[in-house]
């Protein structure tokens, strides 16, 4: 039996009796911090031309603290996720996290396709900065290889360049408006498999909804789960998982309540229309259960009973992986976001086992409370 300690973190850890992997943590670079990592020919576009990421999200009214938790912003005005010490204190130590997967800021796949060479180079600078300032600094931090999906050959080269770093566990693509199942992007998936990396997909601020950008941010933030459904459908029906049977994909920051509908509707349409896609050999829901995972944030409050029904509807308890989305305004606390009273076995799966099984390069976890 584990003794409760007087140290509050140790007590909570002891009470927890399981490990914790956070699959969505946003560290943030200032553009100026990337300059030293850029090849010289590109530096002036930031230092002299004042390049800024393309942004089309047409809203200015967000949550109270902007897009960050108010307490995660720095006193000097820098946004949340800019400072390792604060992130360590508010996230890694506060919740005694085993591993946090950095999902970044500034991902060229979520920007416009134009000027791809610069953006591909910028992703290299970002990855080198990420390794030096974050991955090398705390053993609990794991990384994402950021690439420019609009330049698939360059993206594959970048994955080959830094993907073998022991703490890089995935490549990540931010979703803008392209269905990533298109063969145009397959060199990226081939590089993931070659480097033993999972593939993360995260929406960008440039992701539209089915009817474009509505009038209010709350509409966009309600409907942005659509691009996740769209990407899963695109990967499945374009045969990506038939072509790359080792590939694991994790959909990050889309929540998970859309998954039963996605599976049920995809299956039904596959049954009726599969003659169009003869290379897809199995039911979409089977493909999803084998290859696709869903990071939990943003969770929707619900009763334990409904949560368990939802898991049952998916016919698998291996699909959901816990995430906080630190430092954003709708941060999910590991203690509060999911319903209380979950069976221990399911808790363990959601809080670390499912992530461990998604990321082939996940390091060993501590022995806790056993």
């Amino acid at each position: 039996m584990t003794q409760l300690s007087s140290d509050p973190v140790a007590s909570r850890q002891a009470a927890r009796h399981f490990n914790l992997i956070d699959t969505d943590v946003h560290e943030r670079a200032e553009l100026s911090a990337l300059v030293p990592y850029l090849e010289p020919m590109w530096r002036k576009y930031i230092t002299d031309f004042g390049w800024q990421p393309d942004r089309i999200l047409p809203y200015t009214q967000y949550a109270a603290g902007g897009l960050d938790r108010l307490d995660a912003r720095l006193p000097d005005g820098r946004p949340g996720g800019s400072d390792y010490e604060l992130l360590r204190q508010q996230l890694l130590d506060e919740f005694d996290i085993d591993y946090a997967i950095l999902t970044g800021w500034l991902d060229a796949s979520g920007l416009h396709p134009g000027w791809p060479e610069f953006k591909t180079a910028l992703m290299s600078a970002y990855n080198d900065w990420q390794i030096e300032h974050w991955l090398n600094r705390d053993e609990r931090l794991l990384g994402s290889v950021h690439v420019n999906a609009h330049d698939p050959a360059g993206a594959a080269r970048e994955i080959d360049r830094v993907g073998s770093h022991p703490k890089m566990v995935q490549a990540i693509l931010y979703i803008k408006d392209k269905p990533f199942g298109d063969p145009y992007y397959h060199p990226i998936y081939e590089a993931c498999v070659r480097n033993n990396l999972a593939l993360g997909m995260h929406h960008s601020e440039n992701a539209p909804t089915a009817l474009g950008f509505h009038r209010y941010f709350v509409e966009w933030h309600t409907l942005v789960s659509q691009v996740f459904m769209s990407e899963v459908v695109s990967l499945v029906f374009n045969g990506v998982f038939d072509k790359y049977p080792e590939l694991k994909v994790i959909m990050i920051e889309g929540g998970f309540t859309y998954v039963p509908h996605l599976m049920s509707r995809s299956d039904q349409q596959y049954k009726e229309l599969r003659s169009e896609v003869p290379w897809v050999k199995r039911m979409p829901s089977d493909i999803i259960r084998e290859h696709v995972r869903f990071a939990s944030q943003p969770t929707e409050e619900m009763s334990l009973e409904r949560f368990l029904q939802l898991v049952e509807w998916c016919d698998s308890d291996e699909l959901f992986c816990f995430s906080t989305d630190y430092p954003h305004w709708d941060f999910d606390s590991p203690w509060e976001a999911l319903p209380q009273g979950m069976p221990e076995d399911l808790k363990r799966k959601i809080f670390y086992e499912n992530a461990k099984n998604t990321y082939a390069k996940m390091p060993a976890l501590r022995a806790i409370g056993q």
Copy 2:
């Protein structure tokens, strides 16, 4: 106790013990049939210029019979829904339907916004043709006022012109790429309320998904449920139901498995971001439960247990209304589409009571098996 008759239709009707309203039946006009109903100045665009509806759906491979049930196509090559006698035989008589709501073909709201005057005029011709060739021909057929949403003043005039016809029970808007909650469209809703009509929304072949038009028809047909979610979100957050508390909306041909996700996610986002939309006074799911209904087709096969969970998740058994989508290839049979063994009370609600409560002008139903 009802005696089973030797007539097969009568037996099934007797075994059914309840009425049946079909909320989605597509009658179809040949363009040439509309010419006599057009104001003379517009006729030449069809007869001489060969105008055809704008169509952007970029797929040619559909189901085996094209977009129709193979047996619903006419021997002379005309598409399904073109012939009253065949529709009567295959649908109204075959399933002993009380009322079928005609949802049409050729709806200007699903076309491009250009040349609005012609399209508004064409909708008037369509409505007059619908009244003469369908509504006046069978007491079981009820109509939809087709309008051009891209000309809201013209649309409202058209609703006032034919909306008082006793068999017109709704106005219908086909969804292309516009969120219909925008105040631009509100004159249409005002006209619906003024004429005691429900508002139907149906996707068009021009409706995109969040990532546009993917590579395969099966992807589009899986993801087209997105535009229904988008329209509900648009109506709710733009305060349409706060402005028009009598308005009832029915989402047609999107299925219903997306509804739990839509409600849960909308509620969560409303809780977190409602400061942006202070005119929305209630939880989105409460607004949906009061104002929005969902025609069942295309249903997804599922066990009775899951179907009942899904209804429970919606916290209401009044949301779903049965529909067949006759004469399309994925027609849902009233005997087979929904799970067998449903509780009688729920069956009655889905097969007729919910529709009866949605359509203020629904005529009285026959007394059956009581």
